[in-house]
Amino acid sequence: MSRAPIHAAVGAQRLEGMYFLPGRIELPAWVGGSAPVACGSSSRAAYLFTDEVARDYQIRDALLHLIRGASRKVFFCSFLFGDAQIVDALIEAAERLQGGVYVLTALGKSLQIDTGELDEEFSGMPAQRRVEQQERHLQNLDRMARAGVWLRSARDCHAKLCVVDDEVAVVTSANARRNAYEDNPENGVLVREPAVARELGRLFAHAWLHLTHDESPPGAALDLKGRGGQERRPPAFPALSGSGDLVPVGTVQGIEASIREATLDLIENARRELVIASYSAVSLRDHVVGRALRRALERGVKALVVLRPRNLHRDQVDTCGFLFAGVPDERLVVLGHDHTHAKAIVADGQRALVWTGNLDGKAGYDSGIEVGVLMKDPVSVSAARSHVIEIARRATHRSIIRPTLHEIAAVERSLAGAWTLSLPSGARPGATALAAMFEREAVFWTEIAHGKLAIRLGDAAEVIVRVDEPQRKLISERLMSPPLPERRVSGIMGRSEITLVEESAAPRTQESAPRQRRNQGGRR
């Protein structure tokens, strides 16, 4: 015999954190008028960017120019290789130089390793396109390996770097993919200062020699081989050095953290404004960079931030909430751009950091491998600032703090309408408690199998349900309170009416059933 059904109206509750809604806003006056974006170039450095509108592909052009002009060696670091022109140029260089082309990339298993941003990009793709990307990447690696390019992969290597002859270098946000060079807002720095290029080359050489775990030897088909001796402690890596208006910085698996130091220096010493572009902002609530940024905003520093809008990425939602909630609109503009991948922090229009990482407290500041360049020359800094502002002008999303559930559901993949959630008899928490959670908590769901969802009710509970679409029924298979560690979210519960029905026939408590079975097995 069923108990009386209980109804829950979902959608009106407020979500904690910062989200993005489609739309644009006028940039505040302190950002300044519309300055033309130009390649800021000095004798020592040049700011580079991809302008997808003007079809200005400076990053790839600069890379091709460097590689084709190499007279001794080429170091290239990119997680993926999907751009035929870059691949051809590297192959041509290997042939011309008879070797001397060294690449850090994702080989074999590395493709599956969670590398944060790239994995996000990868997993966000349709499966077919992801497979195609991987196949193209592997085909390109095979071509390069046969031609004599020496490929290795290092764990958590996220840097995008090209160093030629220890004379010139490019540090860029762009992976070697066609859409990175042509479609996405990306940026980078062309380093013409040999001392700086050499330091970047040193970082590459250290990573390539001592921090790699797999390789595909040159002059043969792509053939993943583990490198022995990786348990040995790598030799010391003397800190990157530089002075004046162009300083190389990096993160090298816990032994070099000058990107973090440079970031803190920029943020903590900012007096007027911070102009920031990053793919993401995550895991900064308990990180020095996050705390420094929050303090800067609290002391009145104005900020323009452009991020990739990712409403279903709970970490980013939470981090942005921590960073930006409560800051008056006249001092803070946070915008989203569907394709942005640029990475820069410009402080007071006087100093700029262009680097390959993100505002990520988990990877890139204290671990992993990243590179960057801290610039002080006015031309390059101005170019960097103008470019980030231009990305902001082309933003696709505006930010919103504490929106309602249905506001976000309206722009994301959602589950809405009337649904009946059938629960087994005696389930804990019971229907009444669950109904309250549905009305109070942030309700997200993850597709864990075909026709099967994990519906997460904030940090209170998680229900694994089978979806009977024609009957508009969600049949509970398992109920957990508190829930398992957070899953990657697939969608959000939209405005809906949930009818919770407790079935009388279910003999067992979902939560304790597995444990009981194990115990019985043990007694036997």
């Binding site: 008879q98 040159p218 002059g219």
Partner: protein
């Protein structure tokens, strides 16, 4: 026998002739098992009793069992038995059956003595050797008397008795040419039951049809005829071989596939005449079931080389090089026959190891005679370009050394090549040319990349190495 074992290196390795030979001819020989009854001269050491009794016969000239009892103290039970046994072995005989010497009764003044100069026994006057005394009183009964036979006298002198024993034996032969290969022990149980029928007489190769004549030859003649050299080291089981047992027949079967044999004729440079070759013959036998290969000299065939090899026997090195389709080069003091080559042929003729070496070049196979043949050549470059190409080929085999020190590896390889060729005047190509040409070989790119890695990734940043934090 697989073809691989018929390669010249394998053929010559066991006989320590590889480094000296410059030509080798080989062909398989059909071999046969010959089951025959053979006579062997057997020696048996005389027992002390027999020696004492024979000595008594020698001393007394003629004696009876009672004399043995009387003078040697043997009892009534033993003495007649001893006499009977010696008579059965023909060491003593009744006086009428032996044309020997019959002295008067009593101790004698003369004795059979072996004369090494004559190689036989002669009668010699000697003083009575002993002062005999009776141990028992003589019996008055009439015992049959015996005298020492010549065989008995010889046995007494040598301490051993020689006699002929017939035994069935299986001999292993090659027929054409006739070569004794050994004895075969596969005669028992299942193997014996599975044996085929003997060959029909008409099918038996001619040399084996008269094998009884050949076996009956003196040891020296037998060695000449079939290579059975008893005087050096009698083959196991054939000690004392004398002949086929008169009147006995023999059976011939083809030897099982588990045993095979090939004739190897190795040519060595003849120091007496430039370009001519001295030949040595060997028999290489394999017993698969024992996993043994034996190679031994077949000196008896070396007088028949011309018959076996035909025109090849008198061909000089130049003719052989021509037959191999190679270009002769001027003679050098280095071993191997010098030939000139270039390109891939030069690399091939320099061998497959990581150092240049003389190699065996095959001569055309003539199916009708069954010979396979090779000459050992020292390949010299036909041009400086050929020498450079050979350098590249050998560097391709020394990837590890190249990766360790490119310049040293090229130096060492070039040095070995010009030394091998005896051409120290050749100029070593520069490293740039070598690298450019090696890069064209995709499989060498890894080596070249490894070689430059320290220059690209280590040395430029070495100044920072000591400054870790």
């Amino acid at each position: 026998m697989t073809d691989g074992t018929l390669e010249p290196r394998a053929l010559l390795r066991d006989i320590d002739a590889e480094s000296k030979s410059i030509a080798v001819f080989t062909r398989r020989l059909q071999s046969y098992d010959v089951d025959a009854s053979l006579d062997f001269i057997v020696e048996e050491r005389l027992s002390p009793v027999d020696r004492a009794v024979l000595a008594l016969f020698q001393a007394m000239g003629r004696a009876t069992a009672d004399d043995i009892r009387t003078y040697l103290g043997l009892g009534w039970e033993v003495s007649p038995s001893v006499v009977q046994a010696l008579a059965a072995k023909s060491l003593i005989a009744p006086p009428a059956q032996d044309a020997g010497w019959y002295p008067p009764a009593g101790f004698v003044q003369q004795q059979w003595v072996y004369d090494p100069g004559l190689g036989t026994y002669r009668l010699e006057q000697v003083p009575p050797p002993i002062a005999a005394r009776r141990l028992h009183a003589p019996d008055r009964a009439a015992w049959p008397a015996f005298v020492l036979t010549q065989a008995g006298a010889a046995a007494l002198a040598a301490g051993v008795r020689r006699f002929v024993r017939s035994r069935s034996t299986r001999l292993w032969f090659a027929a054409e040419p006739l070569c004794f290969l050994g004895t075969s022990a596969e005669g028992a149980g299942y193997a014996a039951a599975k044996r085929g029928k003997p060959m029909e007489a008409v099918s038996v190769p001619a040399p084996l049809r008269s094998i009884d004549d050949a076996l009956a030859l003196s040891p020296n003649e037998r060695a000449q005829a079939m290579g059975l050299r008893e005087e050096d080291l009698p083959p196991a089981g054939l000690e004392g071989l004398s002949r086929c047992t008169p009147g006995a027949s023999w059976e011939v079967r083809e030897a099982p596939a588990m045993r095979d044999v090939c004739l190897v004729i190795a040519g060595l440079p003849d120091s007496a005449a430039g370009g001519s070759i001295a030949w040595q013959a060997f028999l290489r036998t394999r017993r698969a079931y024992r996993d043994t290969v034996t190679t031994k000299r077949a000196a008896h065939l070396e007088t028949r080389i011309a018959e076996l090899l035909g025109d090849w026997a008198s061909a000089g090195t130049a003719a052989l090089v021509s037959q191999a389709g190679l270009e002769p080069a001027p003679a050098t003091s280095l071993d191997g026959i010098p030939v000139r080559a270039e390109g891939a042929l030069l690399s091939k003729l320099l061998g497959r190891s990581d150092r240049p070496e003389t190699t065996w070049a095959a001569l055309p196979v003539v199916e009708s005679d069954g010979w396979r043949s090779w000459i050992r050549v020292r390949a010299l470059p036909a041009s400086s370009q050929a020498a450079r190409e050979a350098l590249l080929a050998f560097l391709g085999r020394r990837r590890k050394a190249l990766g360790h020190s490119f310049e040293a590896a090229v130096d060492a390889t070039w040095s070995e090549l010009v030394t091998f060729w005896g051409m120290p005047h050749l100029v070593r190509p520069d490293d740039g040319w070598v690298k450019r040409r090696l890069w064209e070989q995709t499989e060498m790119r890894g080596v070249l990349c490894a070689e430059r890695l320290p220059r690209d990734l280590v040395t430029p940043y070495a100044a920072h190495a000591g400054g870790g934090r």
